[in-house]
């Protein structure tokens, strides 16, 4: 399982930030060609991100590039360069409908064929940033096998709703829709950025809510948000021990050829096993999540 607790935004036209992006330990690094790049610098940012991705090694992070939306006329130019630089994932902004994803996928597939890249090897994620996109979240999440996740982009969304960012009430519906749509499609759900970098308490309060809701992680705009978020997502020792005991009981039952496992006199239901596996994977203990 690939962890996506943190997706760090890196402006695509800033060589200093691009150079250092790998040192902070973010699960995913998202190089941005969209909002953080001035319209007059789109070409320069494309050259810079292309050059960085074909030269620098950011492993083990997942490499994501946010392109401009296709209707802007810039998105296809972004894809022409970036798909050839072989990022793991292309992030599509302002996704309103499943067709937006399908249109982007067509372009990616064409470029993969032209460049001799295995078709289907470029992943995608869709950022939902408007009221229509939220209502279409379920269809968007199932629109392509390339999708590894969907994300909420809150700034445009609250503008669309004619409200502003506050205590999270304004995002409750969108978050609920997006996390449910993602999980129904078997992919990840990524929450929006928390812009007040100096307010760690507020950041953690928001992160706690989205973790409880089922989100896989959150976009971050500053490296200092990474460690607190990873700590928050780290399972406690007590939870790890409990999950280990559950998996041990399952392995015992399997070894005995019994279809029923129990722990401390209680039968272990399938969802309990699924949760225990997920928790061990989240703790980086994949090998202990095996049933055999």
């Amino acid at each position: 399982m690939r962890l996506r607790r943190t997706m760090m935004f890196v402006p695509g036209n800033n060589p200093g930030m691009i150079k250092d992006a790998g040192i902070y330990g973010a699960d995913c690094i998202m190089f941005d060609l969209e909002d953080s790049v001035a319209i007059t610098e789109k070409d320069a940012a494309r050259f810079l991100v292309y050059s960085a991705l074909t030269t620098l090694d950011y492993s083990p992070a997942e490499i994501v590039v946010r392109i401009n939306d296709l209707s802007s006329g810039l998105g296809v130019q972004d894809l022409e360069a970036i798909v050839r630089a072989r990022p793991h994932v292309i992030r599509l902004p302002k996704t309103e409908t499943a067709q937006d994803v399908i249109d982007c996928e067509k372009e990616i597939e064409r470029i993969e064929k032209e460049a001799g890249i295995p078709v289907g090897s470029t992943g995608m994620m869709a950022a939902i940033e408007g009221a229509e996109g939220v209502l279409n979240a379920a269809e968007i999440a199932k629109s392509s096998k390339r999708l590894i996740g969907i994300a909420l982009g809150a700034e445009d969304y609250v503008t669309d709703l004619k409200t502003t960012r506050s205590d999270g009430t304004e995002l409750a519906f969108a978050r609920g829709m997006i996390v449910n749509a993602a999980r129904a499609a078997g992919i990840d759900a990524l929450d929006t950025v928390y812009s007040d970098v100096s307010n760690e308490e507020g950041f953690l309060a928001e992160a706690t809510i989205i973790k409880k809701m089922g989100f896989s992680g959150k976009s971050v705009i500053n490296p200092r948000q990474i460690d607190p978020l990873h700590r928050l997502f780290k399972p406690s020792d007590k939870d790890i021990e409990k999950a280990r005991a559950i998996m041990e009981a399952i392995r015992d039952a399997n070894a005995r050829g019994s279809g029923v496992a129990s722990l401390n006199g209680k039968m272990i239901d399938k969802p309990v096993v699924t949760r225990a596996k997920y928790l061990l994977e989240l703790a980086g203990l994949e090998e202990e999540a095996e049933e055999e």
Partner: protein, 98 residues
């Protein structure tokens, strides 16, 4: 690719390099570099600029470069961006690069 007007790319921020490409007054590529690390890396930086221009088919140009500690990949990117702007050309030929 023919350079038809002066154009630049990059900034004077740390880890960046500002490249200005102009039409050449005489045949060939002339590079003028300003860098606090010119003593140690000047030859290398100039070579990266020359190689990048050659790769994209620029044979005649005058280049002013102000380096602020850029990695080679940033030098390549800024040189290419400035050259395409100076050639008034948007056919970036990514298909050739990859």
């Amino acid at each position: 690719m023919k350079i038809v007007k002066p154009a630049s790319a990059g900034t004077l921020e740390s880890s960046d390099i500002q490249i200005r490409v102009e039409p050449a007054e005489q045949p060939g590529i002339e590079v003028h570099l300003t860098s606090s690390v010119k003593q140690q890396f000047g030859k290398k930086i100039i070579q990266v600029i020359r190689d990048t221009l050659e790769e994209i088919g620029v044979t005649d140009a005058y280049v002013e470069a102000v380096d602020k500690g850029a990695l080679d990949c940033a030098v390549r990117a800024r040189t290419a961006a400035a050259a395409f702007r100076a050639a008034d050309n948007t056919d970036y030929e990514w298909r050739v690069r990859s």
